[in-house]
Assembly symmetry: C2
Homo-oligomer: 221 residues x 2
């Protein structure tokens, strides 16, 4: 498998964690989101993913004519990995628990991350001309609101364990750790979020998460 | 089942379509996002979903002690419905095709909708004090960028059919139709998106989609 990503991309980071948790080998292909006007916008990358977003995963799918398949959107990629390589499972067995894990993952992927990614911040400072201070306040506002909602959800749920759901990492933890990385990078105040901090710490004791960290990628700067 | 939602909420609209496509009966409970300071912020709704976001689906899950389960996040709810009530299937059989459907759904749920929802627009006009004109330009920019990316993806893929993937509606169509509704409401220019318009039209010929429309909800204004 080939993973096209960027060391600091939160969505690429999620997929790296999932690949590592499943013990799957992959080749890392760097797509620099800033250099060369954004390599994700190149024709060669668009041929893989017309959305021009990282990550993209190229895999050999026996069921597909020609074999090779290019997948996009981090959560769709992880669901694919879960279906193709069931061990280690990133979704629990019971339907209601699976829905809970997915809801936590989506609470990050739909409510926090989209508001704080590079192209949005660029629009705010460029087109709307907001100041650096306003940009940081925006970042912290959405990161704070979204993670506080997640903290409430985890605090209220008896299924919360060593990890977001139970005592083994799931899809939710694959999304949580990159978001906490971003939150810390932008100095969001996480002091009122003990569940998130504790789970993050438990994750960061595992090789699968350490190996996936931005600073441990070949394209890290 | 009880679906807590709001007639104009895009995420609630997705779940209504999925429930209808599967022929499932449900009771609709209105949560007004504007009146009473936002009913989703009430203690009684937060008890169902601490995230304070619609939709929430309450179902009887036999596998859960006590039976009742409250689910949140539209895509997690639809995946739950797909696993519990497999017919009519909203995901195809082949793994690569399932990933493709999910990627299209997420391209809307993660790249377009989060930037254009009510609380974000409020922050822009309130905290950042942007003008009505700038707000509309923001809306049209992200709607335009996201839907153009989706159009490219559909144009490039041989699996695109009468609907987003093949000739029966999938999870991708459950997300597309509410997004087109929003785009039309905010006068986004869709003239360069023939695939989206054609698929939208095919969807709107089906009862499941018509019945799920905002104007056909009991809480419509």
């Amino acid at each position: 498998m080939k993973l096209y990503g960027y060391f600091r991309s939160s969505a690429s980071y999620r997929v790296r964690i999932a690949l590592n948790l499943k013990g799957l080998d992959y080749e890392s292909v760097a797509v620099h989101l800033v250099k060369n006007g954004g390599e994700q916008l190149s024709d060669s990358f668009r041929a893989l993913n017309p959305e021009a977003l990282v990550p993209a995963l190229v895999d050999i799918a026996d069921e597909v004519d020609g074999g090779e398949v290019a997948l996009s959107q981090s959560l769709a990629i992880i669901e694919y990995l879960e279906e193709k390589y069931p061990e280690a499972a990133l979704l629990p067995a019971k339907l209601a628990d699976r829905a809970h894990v997915r809801a936590l993952a989506l609470a990050i992927a739909c409510e926090v991350h989209p508001l704080n990614n590079l192209r949005v911040l660029k629009y705010l400072t460029g087109t709307l001309g907001i100041t650096e201070e306003q940009k940081n306040a925006w970042y912290q506002h959405w990161c704070g609101t979204g993670l506080a909602a997640l903290e409430s959800k985890l605090a209220a749920d008896p299924r919360t364990g060593k990890f977001c759901v139970g005592d083994t990492p799931t899809l939710a933890d694959c999304c949580l750790v990159p978001q906490i990385y971003n939150a810390q990078r932008f100095k969001c105040d996480l002091s009122a979020m003990p569940h998130l901090l504790r789970i993050h710490q438990n994750c960061m004791e595992l090789d699968a998460f350490i190996k996936a960290s931005p600073e441990n990628q070949p394209d890290a700067e």
